[in-house]
């Protein structure tokens, strides 16, 4: 019985560790400051779902918008927002700040086998 329990705990720990490693590899942080996205370009692998964590450091709200990614999310001041994108084919996907489209711009560059365009 203790043997089975140890194996079970080991299995659960392995799964958790694997999931955590996968989760960390698929998280990308973006900062919005002075109506600019940092980094403005993010490179992600093709065919994988990723989690974008966007922190708005400005004192005003912004709206993360992307026709290419089909995503639209309000970024409240001094708060973080989470957006999942993908799985995507290889190519470039533009996003921008709806409220300040001339300055807040960026793109997601997907690198992999298939081409989207």
């Amino acid at each position: 019985m203790p043997n089975i329990l140890c194996r079970f705990i080991l299995l659960v720990s392995l799964c958790t560790f694997t999931f955590q490693a996968w989760a960390n590899n698929n998280k990308f942080h973006i900062t919005l400051e002075n109506h600019l996205f940092y980094p403005a370009e993010i490179i992600i692998p093709a065919g994988v779902k990723v989690k974008l964590i966007i922190e708005n450091k400005d004192a005003v709200a912004e709206e993360f918008d992307s026709f290419d990614l089909n995503r639209e999310k309000m970024l409240f001041p001094k708060r973080k927002a989470v957006i999942y994108v993908g799985p995507l084919s290889a190519g470039e996907y533009h996003f921008f700040g709806e409220y300040n489209p001339n300055s807040a711009q960026g793109k997601v560059i997907v690198k992999g086998a298939k081409s989207a365009h």
Binding site: K49, K51, I53, A59, V60, A61, E62, E63, F67, N70, R71, E72, K73, M74, F76, P77, R79, K80, A81, V82, I83, Y84, V85, G86, P87, L88, E98, Y99, P101
Partner: protein, 266 residues
């Protein structure tokens, strides 16, 4: 800033204008009083203040999914209340008590969502201390475009009604409600509750999402240049539900008439 204000205003207010045009053309004047209107406006204002203040807190709940879940729930409520409310009103069901409140709830929630979104933009603009000239001019232009479109659409709907094209009117209303409801698909996709990565077709060479036709068709019927399989599925199921509810209320009316006729004979 001027163009931005116009685009954002139209994006949020045009669907609202289309909804009000439909209801004004067929339902509202006949069943509502001034008291209903006062109650509606008060509810919308309270709703906007509440959502505006609560939204930042909601946005960080449930690992950043709180706002999307809340808005999706509100859109579902809007879909249910407007579908039931208008189907009962159009089929002239005998249960008169429920009909006004269902439509009022639908209008209130939908107005709350759309207006709050635009209000966040306006308050941010004011907070920046920018000149109000661009904002004011943008609002005036956008309001003018909205009113012009709404007026034309209103007369088009009246034209259809006068020629007894009830099926076309119902279809347009169905497409509108379903289109607005299907906004939950990208909302739930961006919090990883739905997968929307499988794009079925790409009609952007003809009508782009970002073009003026794209915006208008999106407001009128939920047009997407690159719809996913999830989007089409939700759209189809919602459309079937809409017509199912209409059929249900119509059958209920026929049963009521038959029951009343039997009672009169006895």
């Amino acid at each position: 800033m001027l163009t931005n204000t116009v685009v954002l205003f139209l994006r949020e207010m045009l669907p609202l204008a289309i909804m009000l045009v439909f209801l004004l053309a067929f339902i509202l004047p006949s069943i509502y009083s001034r008291n209903h209107l006062i109650l509606l406006i008060t509810s919308i204002l309270l709703g906007i203040i509440t959502l505006f203040n609560v939204a930042p807190i909601l946005s960080e709940l449930f690992d950043g999914a709180g706002l999307e879940i809340s808005i999706s729930f509100l859109l579902l409520l809007t879909f249910i209340s407007l579908t039931f409310g208008t189907s009962i009103a159009i089929n002239k069901n005998s249960d008169k008590a429920a009909r006004p409140w269902l439509i009022l709830i639908g209008i209130c929630i939908f107005s709350m969502i759309k207006t709050t979104n635009f209000l966040v933009y306006v308050t941010g603009y004011i907070h920046k201390g920018s000149s109000g000239y661009s904002l004011t001019l943008g609002l005036i232009i956008a309001l003018g475009i909205c009113i012009s479109f709404a007026t034309l659409y209103y007369f088009a709907l009246l034209w259809l009604r006068n020629r007894n094209y009830q099926n076309i009117i119902t279809a347009l209303w169905a497409l509108f409600i379903v289109g607005q409801f299907c906004f939950i698909v990208p909302l739930l996709a961006q919090i990883d509750l739905i997968n929307d990565a499988n794009i079925l077709w790409d009609s952007s060479p003809w009508i782009k999402d970002s073009s003026e036709y794209g915006h208008i068709l999106n407001a009128m019927m939920g047009y997407e240049a690159t719809p996913s399989d999830s989007y089409i599925l939700v759209y189809a199921v919602s459309l079937m539900s809409f017509y199912g509810i209409f059929a249900l209320t119509k059958n209920f009316e026929i049963k009521e008439i038959n029951t009343n006729s039997s009672e009169e004979l006895l």
